[in-house]
């Protein structure tokens, strides 16, 4: 019994949780969402540029995209965040006078996300049948118009589930920017739980943080599954018989 009580006190101390939850919801949650959503946004913009470079017929942009992707996918997230957050900090201070590490955290997360999202977009675009580009070009669309109007929109649709997965990763990885030393008002969910756990010597605030993360990520995971399922079913739509064969050329 003692052991169970001890465990419950360490992990499920409701009072310790109740104490930290207001700050977690009013400060931590918005910051986590700002970090994840804004880096997902910038990651998508940069990722689309990388994807288009990656399928270019010119080898130079292709190689640039390749090298970028290899570097940012190959490094541990924590290392990238530290190098960019701490390394660029002084540069930004000289240029703008700002010592705020928060934008640099977003930058680091965006750069990493772009490497993954770029690959997701590229595979989506390349999965679109070549006949789509050919038919568009046969109508008289330029290469870029055909890509923008026809090929890329279809490619994006196919990878929406993978993009939501990327958002889930960003929600979790945004916790890593605690390394950059944020102001109290800039702390995200993990940092608030961690600070409280450190001051109280009790892990329950971290458990509360974990529950809050799950509240964000589990619905998104199910959204991914739902989208996956709908896309698969969308492929086997019912086709009606060709009832109009008799009225060809005559209108009706």
């Amino acid at each position: 019994m003692d052991v169970l009580e001890q465990l419950a006190k360490t992990f499920l101390d409701w009072e310790a949780m109740a104490e930290v939850i207001p700050a977690m919801l009013t400060v931590g949650l918005p910051n986590t969402l700002i970090l994840a959503v804004s880096s997902a946004f910038f990651g998508c913009v940069l990722g689309m540029i990388l994807a288009v470079m990656g399928i270019s017929r010119n080898p130079i942009p292709r190689w640039i995209a390749r090298i970028y992707t290899d570097i940012f996918r190959g490094l541990p997230a924590i290392l990238t965040i530290l190098l960019i957050g701490l390394g660029l900090g002084p540069v930004v201070r000289i240029l703008t006078g700002s010592t705020n590490p928060y934008p640099l955290g977003i930058l680091a997360l965006s750069l990493m996300a772009a490497a993954y999202i770029g690959e997701i977009f590229r595979s989506g675009i390349q999965s679109v049948e070549s006949g789509q580009l050919e038919a568009s070009r046969a109508l008289g669309f330029s290469y870029s118009a055909a890509m923008v109007l026809i090929v890329i929109p279809q490619g994006i649709r196919r990878v929406l589930p993978a993009l939501v997965n990327q958002l889930i990763s960003l929600i979790k990885d945004s916790s890593l920017i605690y390394m950059l030393g944020l102001l109290a008002s800039q702390r995200e969910i993990f940092r608030i739980g961690n600070d409280q756990a450190a001051t109280t010597g009790n892990l329950s605030p971290l458990v509360a943080a974990g529950l809050l993360y799950l509240c964000l990520t589990v619905p998104l995971t199910h959204l991914v599954n739902f989208m996956d399922k709908r896309m698969r079913e969308g492929k086997t739509q019912k086709v009606e018989p060709d009832e109009a064969a008799a009225i060809i050329g005559k209108g009706h």
Partner: protein, 245 residues
Amino acid sequence: MSEFSSGTLTAKNIHLSFGSNHVLRGIDLHVPKGTTASVIGPSGSGKSTLLRVMNRLIEPDQGDIFLDDRSVLKDNPDELRRRIGMVFQQFNLFPHKTVVQNVSLALSKIRKMPKDQAHAKALEQLDLVGLKHKADARPGNLSGGQQQRVAIARALAMEPEVMFFDEATSALDPELVKGVLALMTDLSKGGMTMVVVTHEMGFSRNVSDTVTFMDGGVVVETGPPDQLFTEPKTDRLKGFLSDVL
């Protein structure tokens, strides 16, 4: 069907290689305004490639292409493709757009028609192929024959001077072939200049004005259908006809 503002298409001495694969070895093709030329030949003989070169989806290595006696190789290829409609074996409709959007997209984006005007014109074209009632459906919900007729409407909406068909009925279930062939026959009779790559010997024989038999990247025989189908001169054409007929 109404008259078309069609043009005369001529290809002269077209050569094309994919790497070391010399696919087109000096092709000549002359399609006078308002006539239908069918192109037949065994798989891999270069029929599809010839169509793609003639609307410059692929640039020829050598040779020249004329539309109404003017060489088009120096023009912007996008401009040339706007004058030539193309229909593919796999339809290649845009699955993320509705049927009517498939037809109106190029009108609004390329012809710069106002949206409502492009929409109205697209509906008109769909009506001509008997599919106005499917305007708001997605291509994926249509049968193959219906999809191909939408693809034909999409090409016709641009008011092309020439139409290319690359085995337009080969991917269709047998019972759907007739409808698409009937539509192509109407176009041909309506005065459209057409180049039709086909395995449908009935169409080639009864509808087209000239038949061109290709094999190994060259034109082996060309002439009126009666001549080619009843008195083939070469062994290659005789062999081909005995295989397909």
